[in-house]
Amino acid sequence: MSAPLLRIRGLRKSFGAHAVLHGIDLDIPRGGVTVLLGPSGSGKSTLLRCINHLEKPDAGFVELGGEIIGYRPDRPTGGRIRHLRELRDRDLARQRARIGMVFQQFNLFPHMTALENLVEAPVALRRASKKQATDTALELLDRVGLSGREHAYPKQLSGGQQQRVAIARALALRPELLLFDEPTSALDPELVGEVLHVIKDLALGGMSMIVVTHEINFAREVADTVVFLDAGRVLETGRPEDVLDGAAHERTRAFLEAVL
């Protein structure tokens, strides 16, 4: 088995006195879909936000392709590393550009058109000229089924369309990994399908993705790995059919019964 794309080790996070993550160890393979399941408050979103350093962990680390996210280790002395020193803004931004993120509430920039939302980052990071970025953006909008809507403002689009623009925006930087934080939870039921369809398409294209969702059927159909989180701990990891149909823990079975 090749080295995993993402390695999470000993990750802990508390908000004040409330411990959300109790030491997470997880490997995410390259080119696969990992679905994070778990009851609300189990730490799924916090885990996702630690992966691109939107939350600073209290302990542990996240490693993408051999590079620690958010920190630079001191040179080891006698097999010991004294500090993991947090990166400065510019280095952090460079790392985050390798990881795309799609939010539950879309978080499109409301004062920009769909096209401008996609062009902003590649141009700001000097990845492409305005012309190149525009061409790529139009291609991406076409890929998520929104060609012709590039000059619409987010408010003029339906929720499903907005989320597809958000996915295209995340893709504009050609990330190595895409994070989805409950991408369909804010959508009307009839709009969920179009967004899941786009994600499925990306999976077929070999994109590495971590998806927090409550769509069990989507997990069953698209996921390569399902991870079940409860109270800040990984309770089970495995292929969807193993976790969803043969859950080892009572907590997992109770959760699945409640949502199905």
Binding site: G10, D58, F61, P76, R80, I81, H83, L84, R85, E86
Partner: protein, 284 residues
Amino acid sequence: MSLTDAALLEAKLVPPRRPARWVTGAVTLVLAAMLVHTLLTDHRFQWSVVGRYFTESSVVDGLELTLWLTAATMAAGFALGVVLAYVRLWGSPIPRAFAFGYVWLIRSVPLLVQLLFWYELASLYPKLSIGIPFGPSFASADTAHLFSGELAAFVTLTLDVAAFSSEIVRGGILSVDRGQSEAAQALGLGRFRVFRRIVLPQAMPAIVPAGGNLLIGTLKSTSLVSVIAVVDLLYSVQLIYNANFEVIPLLLVATLWYVILTTLLSIGQHYVERYYARGNGGRR
């Protein structure tokens, strides 16, 4: 788990090094030390004279007038400003145009010029009378008797605060999501109640910082009334130094009082902001 993983997990997570911060911090501290040094050691500041006049009764009287004028003009002006903002956003066309024209006119004329106009009102309209427009009048009075310097100061500052605060309030109201007033209307709340109970409180986080600015600005603008011989804080120290020529120490007396008042107002603003931020706390 490999050896390096174990080593990484034992490492302490620490914030980044920021050498530039140390340099700018050191430079700032040196400059601050120089300032304190000159303030304390230069005999021309004459701190003993400052101390002697700091609580002089005429200075305290002037301070009282400054405080009273600031409080009264802010209260009256802000109330008028809220009405103007309401009219500009939801009024019918003619009042709306009037509110717009009012703000335009007041903001166009320097405060000092307005002050002089109100003070000299008597030479423009020697008599003021109450009656039917363009018809007979019932009562009249000499303007010069009606308009003292203090009334001119109060009117000028109030009208000025009204114009500026109406823009501050209007901006705050525009920052509130439309869905909020729709939800309140759907609950059957009347138009004015929606404004007062739902929209205005949510506009406050945007209004308070700018309003605090205006309050402090008004406190300092009151010093302009010294030109029309109203005995405020500034004019009271001017009266003293015109007699004894201790100009710098007496200006310092006034300055210290303004700084103290502004400090108190800033602290107050902090607590008001915290009050209106309620319900928006939690994780960020």
